[in-house]
Symmetry: C2
Subunit: 151 residues, 2 copies
């Protein structure tokens, strides 16, 4: 029994699209993670956290903002930042206006590591993306993903 002939004929196209999104992401993430580990000894989760910190307008994020940006639980983010702190890539700052809150900032070492990792990242994307999608196609894909990702 194939999916096509199963109980939900009408929405099948969406199931397939969603499956394709998950699969594409999983394979690319796996490939990038391997590359980053090999070339930079940097787990993808660390890369993502550092990238989100750099992307932040103010150059820093509160724990819960970071957790949301990397789509982790707050507990998981606490531990992740513990590890990044151990490695010297981030620092914690008290928030002057709210003593519950903590700002996470990227350190010079963190920035250097991120630059390094971005080089690897770009090589990887060049290899996996450049010859598969044209510039126009990449732009279209971006637009569609952004629409789909609207919160």
């Amino acid at each position: 029994m194939s999916v096509k002939t199963s109980t939900c004929p009408s929405g099948n196209e969406k199931v397939i699209l969603f499956g394709l999104l998950m699969d594409t992401n999983a394979r690319l993430a796996k490939g990038l993670n391997e590359e980053l580990e090999k070339a930079c000894r940097l787990p993808l989760a660390w890369f993502d956290a550092l990238l989100q910190l750099r992307k932040a307008e103010s150059g820093r994020l509160k724990m819960n903002e970071l957790a949301n940006a990397i789509v982790h639980s707050t507990g998981g983010t606490t531990r992740l930042i513990d590890r990044l702190y151990e490695a010297g890539f981030v620092a914690r700052e008290q928030c002057p206006t709210d003593r519950r809150a903590i700002y996470v900032t990227i350190t010079a070492a963190g920035n250097a590591k991120l630059d390094d990792a971005l080089t690897t990242h770009l090589e990887f994307l060049q290899d996996t993306m450049a010859d598969r999608l044209s510039g126009v196609e990449r732009e279209t894909l971006s637009t569609l993903l952004a629409k789909l990702n609207a919160h």
Copy 2:
């Protein structure tokens, strides 16, 4: 310092596209996982494994084929199938031509559970996808993801 003005100006558009893909996937997967847990008590990983088994032409997959289909390690797949077996959703069959290999098949209970989950899944996709992307846009997105996912 924003990403735009940092060390890799030329490939930035790709970094952003990739980030968008990861982020979109993470948020949708998280949402779907919550829905499936709530409505069916079925983890997304179980759903994915059952769906891959149903999608298989022969109605069954060897362990390593399944591992590849769900993008897991073989070790992780062994444990996942252990759990699905405990729950009665899959069975293991010896391969008659290769005594090392094991076929994983979906049981009647597994099929019933998957049908149930697909209903939830479709409702979720209807909510998150239908009003954000048109039919044509979904088709375009599928095409582009398939190109990007070429192995």
